[in-house]
Amino acid sequence: MSERSHNLPQLRSFAYRAVAFVLVFAALQTCWELARGSRIETLWVNDITVRTASALINLITPGVEANARGARIVAAGGGLNVKFGCEGTDVMFLLCAAFVVFRSTARARIRGLLLGLVLVFVLNQVRIAGLFYAFRLDKSIFNLMHASGAPLIMATLTGVYFFIWSRRAESAARLEGAPTPGVPL
């Protein structure tokens, strides 16, 4: 990793961005809370998230015959309730906040964010399917994955994506002679 010298303005810039990251996330999450109970929530949770997850489970194990019923995946032998915190919006908002505070061109950020959101959606589907199988096989694995394993791994993989994108954005900025983003990481 290349050495970076840390001076006060850079540290101050980082501090502002770290605080802004949390605040932007809080704003996005508050907006989502205001949409609770609305058609937006039903569309995202019931129609997009749960139905896709049920289809994925039936693709992997057709014999399970999982059915999407509202926010629940119902199947003989045990199903899953996709509740608050499991619909993937938390990691999506974290990624949005990261792209907001990272300095780069708007076009690069939009492209990176859109691709990232697709990645997070796919990861969340894998999370839901994984929790579904874990619940049916071994409750202790489910408990471990549900409380901390799945959020940790999702955040890690999303973080890796953001890191790769940010390094590419820096390289592209350097090639164009533009000022490089000043996050001293």
Binding site: V22, F25, A26, E33, G85, V91
Partner: protein, 215 residues
Amino acid sequence: MKPLLPRGVSREAAMLGIRLLVCSIAVLFIVSSVSRDAVNALLPAFALILELVADDFKVLRFGFVNERGNESLVLMALLKQTLFFDTKLVLPDGRTMLMAGVTLGTVLLPLQVVLAASLAWPGSWRELLLRLGVALVLVAGVLLVDTPLTLAAWLWDGQLRAHAPDQRSFLVWWSTFLTGGGRLSLSIAAAATAIVLGRCLSEILLKREPQSDRS
């Protein structure tokens, strides 16, 4: 010969990705295996914060519960003082038990995120130690504003739903924020801060070393 890495993915990024994943999985299993002891060590600090933010309630029990293999931290309390809402007065009856709980995995999630990132980030041994020192201080702060406030919010939320459903509470908003990903956002911010400050402190110490010691 085809490159091993996808186009645009540098070796540096790939190595960091692998390190992050390995450290996350390792930290997950290690912290989970000592979760009860870790949370036990935090209980006195949690109890102190609870006393400050939930002083309208009398804590009867604050400890561990194992329900069907799922270990949780549970708070049982009674209403201690009269609560005043807009048009209502709620008197403590000394009987109605209030309960709030959170799984140990949720309690320790900030620790896992910060530890995984701090261990995975490349740097010298000195930088790693400094980073870990800063990380532990920061994650302690996150833990103190997380679990005790979440438990207190559960107690308040019950009262608000029963007696003043239209009333807003910052504590309840904070708990919703934490549960909806805020816990992760604070942990990520703490991890990034630990990485930056660790590097900064390492450079400061390196500059202060006599020239001959550096070679």
